[in-house]
Symmetry: C2
Subunit: 504 residues, 2 copies
């Protein structure tokens, strides 16, 4: 086995390529301790279940040293108490109940106008009707214009935009499209370690081979093209590595790629004929000094021909992230560049299945994300202030978390550049690691389970995301109200000191 460890032998494994694993890893169904297997296949569910039990107990008046459970495990901003953007909700309310448009006093003028315009784009003037499965043409145009503005004029075309049920669904559709072959010719997908756990689920469901590449923790979790070349080389002969998946900003790492790094990746993709699948859902959350989001498509067009006519690129974005955080609305988009027309039309044909249609209200929220109030509009000041305040909260939170972590023994944390997470490394005592082994779980999962039990704080275990063997991490969601975060950090600090003492 190489220096990349396998984190969890369940279906969500991202740590190690299957051909580098020992026997245990190849057939976890038969040879792994059933208890471990159960925990590892459903770590998320196990923690969720434990959290639900604790919540239930608290409601029944169970005697705990805390009154409320704090969940900063999953990236759900509204669940954590962040408020929605008013303009989004005003427009949606008017679209859903157009009678509100008759009462001018309750909603800002631009919200009413936007609702009227959007209702005009819906079949039968109702958000209850179906749309084209690839989305309302008007919303596709708004998205294309948003992308064009964002990228300083590099033109995006509505026909390259497909509206879908969020970034995860977009990923699934593209992976299903590209999944083919068996054995040596089976599609391989280069996937970062660590990566968001839902990506691993999508890879498993699509039936493609995961070709893991390590991000470099010591360099703020940078993506290194040398590592890509290395794993590409190693994967050939085992599968057909045809897809390179990248998340920028990274999740859970918070790394933001530089323009140069993106150009290197694109040139490598061109040389090796890799399909680029890029997750850019955290593009609004870049917060480190001197750091900015640059899209893959912008760099691709700046490199120019033949690259810009050749490299197949799909980029996904969603309303669940950034300052909207409207995950429950279920909407996102993908932009498709340079895809073989026959393949693209197959994608549209699959999307054409009514079960893939995006809820109309989600599409409307997406339209607002793409075209927020402009200067001069009646909601512009409120909207700008709401975004500014959320941004301030996020940046402030990242700073607070880093300060607390820096002061804790046995914790190291790379400076975070973007995204909504912090992913510190835990240097756990050997006794803790041994104890975890003896009960058949990863040490960071043990840490998370005890933290949840003892302090009522739910954070994500590093083993859910994949990590180098022998290393341990936790993921903290920081797009939460500051008071909740301060409470969480107090609990984390207390627990951590106790845990380290107990095992040293």
């Amino acid at each position: 086995m190489g220096d990349e460890g396998i984190s969890s032998p369940g279906k969500r494994t991202v740590g190690t390529a299957f051909w580098e694993r020992g026997t245990d890893d190849v057939s976890p169904g038969r040879e792994v301790n059933p208890r471990v297997k159960d925990i590892q296949v459903s770590q998320r569910e196990a923690l969720l279940g434990q959290a639900a039990q604790i919540r239930h107990g608290l409601r029944q008046g169970s005697n705990k040293p805390y009154k409320e459970l704090i969940d900063i495990c999953w990236g759900d901003a509204h669940s954590a108490g962040m408020k929605p953007i008013s303009f989004v909700r005003q427009v949606l309310a008017a679209c859903i109940h157009p009678e509100l448009l008759l009462h001018g006093d309750r909603l800002p003028a631009d919200a009413r106008h936007r609702a009227q315009r959007l209702l005009g784009e819906c079949n039968g003037g109702s958000v209850g009707s179906y749309t084209d499965t690839s989305g309302l043409p008007h919303v596709k145009r708004s998205v294309a214009e948003f992308i064009t503005r964002r990228d300083g004029g590099v033109r995006s075309l509505p026909e390259n935009i497909l509206i879908c049920l969020g970034s995860q669904r977009a990923l699934m559709l593209v992976l299903n499209l590209l999944a083919q072959g068996e054995g040596v010719s089976q599609t391989g997908v280069l996937t970062p370690v660590p990566t968001c756990n839902t990506v691993s689920m999508a890879l498993a469901e699509a039936g493609v081979v995961t070709v893991p590449y390590q991000l470099c923790e010591e360099q703020r979790w940078a993506l290194q093209t040398d590592e890509l070349c290395r794993v590409l080389q190693a994967a050939r002969g085992h599968c057909d590595p045809r897809v390179l998946y990248v998340a920028n900003p990274g999740n859970p790492t918070g790394h933001v790629q530089s323009r140069e790094s993106i150009e290197e990746v694109i040139r490598l993709a061109a040389k090796e004929r890799l399909f680029l699948l890029v997750n850019e859902v955290d593009q609004d959350s870049v917060h480190a000094e001197g750091c900015e989001f640059v899209s893959y498509r912008k760099v691709l067009f700046e490199i120019g021909p033949p690259f810009s006519d050749m490299v197949e690129l799909v980029s996904v974005h969603s309303i669940a992230r950034g300052f909207m955080g409207e995950g429950g609305m279920r909407a996102g988009y993908m932009e498709i560049l340079n895809m073989d027309p026959a393949v693209k039309s197959w994608l549209v044909d699959v999307l054409m299945c009514p079960d893939n249609e995006t809820p109309v209200l989600g599409q409307i929220a997406l339209d607002i994300m793409a075209e927020p109030p402009r200067p001069g509009d009646s909601s512009h000041a409120t909207y700008t202030e709401e975004v500014r305040s959320r941004r301030e909260t996020l940046i402030g939170n990242v700073g607070r978390v880093q300060k607390v972590l820096d002061a804790l023994p046995g914790v190291s944390c790379q400076p975070v550049m973007g995204g909504n997470y912090v992913f510190p490394r835990l240097h756990l005592p050997i006794a803790a690691v041994d104890q975890a082994k003896s009960v058949g779980v990863e040490a960071d999962l043990l840490y998370c389970k005890l933290l949840l039990e003892e302090e009522g704080l739910c954070v994500g275990p590093g083993c859910e995301f994949g990590q180098r063997e022998g290393t341990h991490h936790i993921r903290l969601h920081v797009m939460v109200p500051t008071e909740a975060l301060d409470d969480a950090l107090g609990r984390l600090k207390r627990f951590h000191l106790r845990f380290m003492r107990a095992f040293s």
Copy 2:
């Protein structure tokens, strides 16, 4: 080839089992005229495309004998001009923009209370947060109580309810679950002919073998268990027919099964160990005199043990149909009975993928479908009147359509018992059938294309749904405002008489 004709050799074929087809049908990709293939694979898209072009032309002022296009092809009530139920929209508006709750004057008290209660069930009190992937526990309880009430006390349990993105998605999930094997052991799904075209798409996508069974047009499109036995017999040796798909009320046929017929089907399913997959989305639209909707689960429990503990049954329902017609909200549910616990947990695990989560607003609409205003609630009178008026419109429309059709030469129509469609048979002149053949399309598609072009009326061609060879039909969606329907019937009559004259 038997007496069941193949309607379309594309991927949506339902007319004939593959082992009964000629060479052309087995490999349409290679041997069928590409033009025919294209039309047949995408009949729906072709008609949709033609309709979009005509709409665009009309907006540009093109010279047509009609000012507007009328679309009664797809079952989209709001698109056709039906109004949403006020209570649904009021509750949703308050959930999405809780500020509305502060202004008591605009929304009825029960709508405000319901919104408050439902917001209390959402994580973080926001419809923008994620839920359990199988749905909000509160909504699952509401649905279970609704089913229990509907079935006169036959108890439904929340743990058997899974909330999902509409009936089509529910179908896909179950089919994916049951799809297995290859060759003789590949899962076969007994599927009615005719059937809703989206079902055929789901079967194709899931990679199961379609085992078509003919509904008996002469007997109001009844399901005959003899026919089920016949095709079951014939299918064995070609695939493993393990699933029986039934739509009750039927789509596009409008047949409503009697209690006796349902009992026969259940006993057959028990004897032959068939998994029952039942589409009951049109349960609110039963309108023939003396006819009522009886659910499969109710009959199953009335038959009692051992059947009620043994027959695996999944029933699906959705907010897209009935009097709500909220297709754009994307929500439905399935109830799962007697499924092997291991299989059921796999289903929940797949559903656990975040990309299958149902939008929270859709779940809220589902809650209202399950628990509408009660007598004494402030919205009860309005709600009852709105439902009554839609019901009256539907029943009136069915009568009007049947009257017009009965008077047309070359048209016969079975009395419709339920659902939102009428599916008359066209007895087309041989010259018309020959002309259709010469341009490589089914005669009813030719009829629909000309009707759309000449009169601006879009109806569904029978070949999209499957039909006995040599027969032709059209499907008319009748859950539309009466004025629109009258306009549509005038156009249909003019066109039909002209068409029949031209070809006789």
